[in-house]
């Protein structure tokens, strides 16, 4: 195919606008400007005429493909397709939690413990038969200076914050949807720091705010 180059019979300094004009993509002012151009520029008028003709041909292109039935394997695959995978559960997201490698390693045992114990927690809540501390807003083992951050993350339905403790140790707090059908609206809370035991909790909405249960602790790194 011959490419269009400046100076080619097919090209025009305003070719973008001419094509957009043919395609009905210009506003009224631009359209009128192009119409004025065409009226006084035979080269532009000829291009527009050819553009219309080629567009009409291109619009019907590949009609044979449109008319052909899709291949049976494809229809079968669509019919057979399983339900879409559910959104990643909190366990998956926890493993993708953007902690540093050291922190990630430290949080992993806590996450595993939480995964094993969350269901029990949900079933036994409220109460401490499973040995968990259930308290309103204070069950998770988070330093007092970090606790004010938690309600905002819970109310937002999730998020992540980080900072430094008074002693200079870095901390990170994350809240993730729990995706537990039996505990709608509950969120998983993970606190990790350089100095304190990692803590994983389950926060569930109650009338007065959130009930937070600590479900797992892991040794500090």
């Amino acid at each position: 195919m011959t490419p269009t180059r400046p100076g080619d019979q097919a090209s025009h300094p305003q070719q973008d606008r001419l094509v957009a004009y043919v395609d009905g993509e210009l506003d009224i002012d631009e359209r009128e400007a192009v119409q004025a151009l065409i009226a006084g520029d035979r080269h532009a008028a000829a291009i527009v005429e050819r553009l219309i003709a080629s567009r009409d041909q291109a619009e019907g292109a590949f009609g044979a493909i449109l008319a052909a039935a899709p291949r049976p394997e494809l229809l079968a695959a669509i019919e057979r397709a399983d339900a879409p995978a559910p959104a990643p559960g909190w366990r998956d997201r926890l493993t993708r939690f953007t902690l540093s490698r050291t922190w990630r390693l430290a949080v992993a045992p806590a996450a595993l413990a939480a995964a094993l114990l969350l269901a029990v927690t949900v079933v036994t809540m409220p109460g401490d038969e499973a040995g968990f501390t259930l308290a309103s807003g204070g069950g998770l083992d988070i330093p007092a200076e970090v606790q004010p951050v938690l309600p905002g993350l819970l109310d937002a339905g999730g998020g992540e914050r980080q900072g430094s403790l008074a002693g200079g140790d870095a901390w990170r707090l994350a809240v993730l949807p729990a995706d537990i059908p039996e505990a709608p609206g509950c969120l998983v809370v993970v606190f990790a720091s350089d100095a304190l035991p990692e803590s994983v909790g389950l926060a569930c909405p109650v009338e007065a705010g959130w009930r937070v249960a600590t479900v797992a602790l892991a040794p500090a790194p």
Binding site: T2, R71, P84, A87
Partner: protein, 175 residues
Amino acid sequence: MPTPPPDDAFRRQLIDLLPRLRRFAYGLTRSLAEADDLVQSACLRALEKRRQWQADTRLDSWLFRIVQNLWIDGRRRLRHREDVDPDSLPLGDPNAHRAAEARLTLGTVERLILGLPAEQRAVLMLATVEGMSYAETAAILGIPHGTVMSRLSRARLALAAALDETGNAEGATGR
């Protein structure tokens, strides 16, 4: 937890759109076999990710975008693996679906479209063949509106010029 089967309405719309998806995919890949594979991958991806589709937006645009993204991924992999420009490969796949390819009789304008550079082909297939607006085309391809205009104008003028040449050549040979 048991998950519900894919929504029947979604699946039905998907099947209704298959011919257009296939046509777009063919315009990109220039091979029926590859187009079918691309559409199949796109459909399965769409079913898997259908929760990401917002029901108040156009399903066809969303599906075209999936097709386009999968095609670009495939081209990147090919280029990375074989250090070749996929667009420089000969038209069609000589090793697969020969019969299907043979049944597809291309007209002059179709051959000319397939001869355009890949980026121009994609824009032309959406904006001209599919009749999408420039804004929709830009959104599907993830490129600025102005880029759609410039690519499309190059494609359309090249197509017009080539059709002229073809017409002149046929006229000169008395066909």
